[in-house]
Symmetry: C2
DNA sequence: CTGAAAGCGCTTACAG
DNA sequence: CTGAAAGCGCTTACAG
């Protein structure tokens, strides 16, 4: 422990009790102005900064929000974390970022009062954990799933709707054989987008074909491999368009097609989801569903703080994505 | 304050004193095995998780590192923050990310014992602040400048050397008129790279020309504007190559040249610094100096923890960048 | 081997 | 308006 200035030093310097110092510093309106001035001056003279730990132990509050995730790599997290941190600061909170795959670390910091509430993007946490979180009356907002409990809310994208919308868009461009490049089974956005795809096909009277389902794992490499394997192993009944589970896997598809000397969109159309920043650097401009990532972060913080303040019960928010036309989809001329 | 299980509950449940609970839980080898077992069982039964605040207040440690920065947007920070967080976890620390431009927020959280030490990437903090940090015996590692004090170290890239190296590379390709696209004056990497550029020119006997200095502000838009203005306003004595202060501004230069219907590298060569991930998506492949960003994060954490543990005094580390040849530079054919 | 007590730095009823 | 005291949840000399 470094020898920091404590409330006692200030009290001595100002010639009052520590109780009075506390009141003066916290703007509790009982202190005589002259006394208050003396205290404030003394505090300044000594460069006093309150030790948050003492404060917290007493109040039970940390004024910290925890953001828990397995990884922040990839283009999705940078704007998300920034939005979260900025919004939190506005509301008087700091943000603790925990990048860990160790469930115990997560549990301990939640239960150990390290933070007042949590924002979760964490596959590891299952329904049972969420039940425990609710039971302990911990405020939490999840952004990787839909869930609503007394102290737990969520903010997700309308991935079912946009999955349908994206598929309909491809259908409207004349595509009838549309491959779907999935992310991970069990992951909300992945499942929802796929379900939307299925629904759109069904409404259009087009049967779902198993061969047209590739695994892209939401990343570039897997998608690249998947499309390469697919086109080299399967010799007929090719799709005319690929709907990828997210932009990264769409990029993988485009690169894979390029590697086999096909052109996008001349030979195949490709579409993604998310609207990540780096699309700006990629050719061709990808047609995608742009999701409001920053808004997700901001709303998650707001809702979480409301939960912490007991202003509301957990709610489930759904944010709308919008179609952005690029140059990676063209009208289908094949029959 | 939620009604969490405290050490008292465990003590009651196990039929011992809170002191014994504390010792049993912290593996202090004085407790009779049978007693310890009883305590551990009771703790498990009650789902006891120690309140870190109590612990911290006593120990004066938070086991938290603070990462302070104005922004984490841009492609540099995502791998940096991830590396920092992962390395910290390995060493038993959590990471607090503060994205703020409010100096008071920074000072308060440093002085208020929110964290055990800090990693700083923060223009706002000046030499005076660093002196204060040292005076308060706060452990800190800066990654945006070179500085060494008793409790303060730094981890930077060898930007002077690579600035020279990059310039020499362009010279070796026959370029004699090399424009430099600066970042911000006063920012370490920017100044050092420029100084290296100056030195290389001098050694080659090429005079520094003021007209060949553009302002790129380390970002794409400003660089785009700068090159556009330059080429439209200046009608002769054009450079044959642009050395940009970082990759983002190099991208801006390339896009600006493209917008004026010039080709890279046919008409102009362009080179950057950093080797950020998104170069993978950009055409043409940019020739750049690749800096070990993850290593910077890991080393910063290591050094910081050593400082916290009083194992060392502040040191200044310099990490080597290496030249990566892309397709954005070609031999100069003009005289 | 175990426990009562002091104390980490603060806030907040309560008394004066 | 001010201060002595209790207490937040823990750890750690110290006594037994």
């Amino acid at each position: 422990m470094k020898n920091r200035v404590t409330i006692h030093d200030v009290a001595k310097e100002a010639g009052v009790s520590i109780a009075t110092v506390s009141k003066a510093l916290n703007d509790i309106n009982v202190v005589k102005p002259a006394t208050k001035a003396r205290v404030l001056e003394a505090a300044k003279r000594l460069h006093y900064v309150p030790n948050v730990m003492g404060k917290q132990l007493k109040s039970g509050e940390t004024k910290m929000l925890g953001f828990y995730t397995n990884t922040i790599s990839g283009p999705y997290f940078s704007p998300l974390v920034e939005a979260i941190a900025k919004e939190a600061e506005k509301l008087g909170y700091g943000v603790n970022v925990f990048i860990t795959s160790d469930k115990q670390v997560i549990i301990n910091s939640i239960m150990g009062n390290v933070v007042d509430g949590i924002i979760g993007f964490e596959d590891l946490i299952d329904e049972q954990d969420i039940a425990a979180i609710e039971h302990e009356q911990i405020s939490a907002v999840f952004i990787d799933r839909k869930t609503t409990r007394k102290t737990v809310g969520s903010v997700v994208f309308d991935s079912f709707t946009t999955g349908e919308k994206a598929t309909n868009y491809l259908l409207s461009q004349g595509h009838k054989r549309i491959a779907f490049v999935s992310g991970f089974q069990g992951v909300y956005d992945s499942d929802e987008r796929f379900a939307g795809y299925c629904k759109a096909l069904k409404l259009a009277g087009i049967p779902l074909e198993k061969e047209l389902l590739l695994e892209g794992k939401f990343e570039e490499k897997a998608a690249f491999q998947a499309v390469e394997n697919f086109l080299t192993q399967q010799k007929n009944n090719w799709p005319t368009a690929f709907l990828a589970g997210n932009d990264l896997s769409a990029i993988g598809i485009v690169k894979g097609l390029k590697a086999l000397n096909y052109k996008v969109p001349q030979d195949f159309s490709v579409m993604g989801f998310d609207g990540i920043d780096l699309l700006e650097y990629f050719e061709p401009k990808l047609t995608t569903i742009k999701n409001p990532i920053e808004e997700q972060g901001r709303l998650a913080v707001h809702h979480l703080v409301d939960l912490i303040d007991n202003k509301t019960q957990g709610k489930s928010f759904e944010l709308k994505g919008r179609l952005v036309e690029g140059k990676s989809v063209k009208k289908c001329e094949r029959k």
